[in-house]
Symmetry: C2
Subunit: 200 residues, 2 copies
């Protein structure tokens, strides 16, 4: 595409580096910002710089945080006896939005994936062990990882590492999603949900 201005071209190229945004959408966004108040672009720009420069991670759970200890870890209303182990901050948000979990979190910062070259040493697994050892009030670990090959590998690895510690280990239930249709459920999920049937 021939852009009328080098500045537009630069902006389009930078915006199009974001996931899910192509050149056409990037151009639309750039022209939108050009037509809008300049303060909008300045606010956007400042918020992004502040985001990447000032965001820190909670020293206890490794979740994104504004302070050394995040709101959840610092709250006295949360149950310290139960930890949900999740892949990243998005999962913390997803679980928080259910309002069904009152415990605390431990963010791994990724998942074991030999294909992407991510091993256990790249994740916050060592700090999970230390956290459990130094906090005897922790009684249960919920492995809230995605039901994929990588998620299962990571879960098995963590279970092996924790087996000598006196904590209960559980995993989130897998089965037919609420509102799902038996007919259209894949056979692996349906098979597992029969094997893992629960008393009614």
């Amino acid at each position: 595409m021939n852009y009328p201005s080098k500045l537009i071209e630069d902006a389009v190229n930078e915006i199009a580096k974001l996931p899910g945004i192509g050149k056409k959408s990037a151009l639309r966004l750039a022209l939108h910002l050009l037509k809008s108040e300049k303060t909008q672009t300045h606010n956007l720009s400042n918020s992004l710089i502040n985001l990447v420069e000032k965001t820190t991670y909670c020293v206890a759970c490794h979740n994104i945080s504004d302070a050394e200890i995040c709101q959840i870890c610092g709250s006295h209303r949360r149950d310290s006896s139960i930890l949900a182990v999740v892949q990243d901050s998005k999962d913390v948000l997803a679980i928080e939005n259910t309002s069904q979990f009152q415990g605390k979190y431990h963010v791994l910062g990724g998942i074991i994936s030999p294909i992407q070259g991510i091993g256990p040493q790249d994740l916050n697994i060592e700090s999970l062990l230390l956290r459990i050892q130094s906090n005897p009030e922790i009684k249960e670990i919920i492995l809230a990882l995605s039901p994929t090959m990588e998620g299962d590998t990571t879960a098995f690895y963590i279970r092996k590492k924790l087996k000598d510690l006196s904590v209960k280990i559980s995993t989130i239930a897998r089965g037919i999603p609420i509102g799902g249709d038996l007919e259209y459920t894949d056979e692996i999920t349906l098979g597992r949900s029969i094997l893992s049937r629960v008393e009614f």
Copy 2:
């Protein structure tokens, strides 16, 4: 949604002000930037600031430009006798990408829309008249406006304004799009395309 950090919340709110991006997509983009190299965010941020602060408009055609006179108006290889009148810079890009037009442009900067409170005085129509009057080499004006109510209103207004000047006024052809199917074409387009039939 409860964000783990005020900085994330600010960034999500600013990103979600862009057209077509909701809170969920904004969060995904913010977390993507957090995981990426910081230089990416700095480059993005700088390119947006440069875009809104340094972009100028061509004094002749009002298209976005890096200089006082844009590349198209300044080019000796373009035909100065024919001007395409378009709504905004996006349309210049769209026509340029067809490689079918060798003339120059005139960007109105909008379209007459009483509902949005945009009248002829808000558009670059007066400068179009001046441009035609002071450039006797301009022989033809193509009204390349969208075939909507507002586009037609604007086209009629410009035609009325130009009727005393000795320029030919044409409009881009309307009809069945190439590859379109007669059966699924709306009746207004099909009806107009029969009335405006051309010799084969």
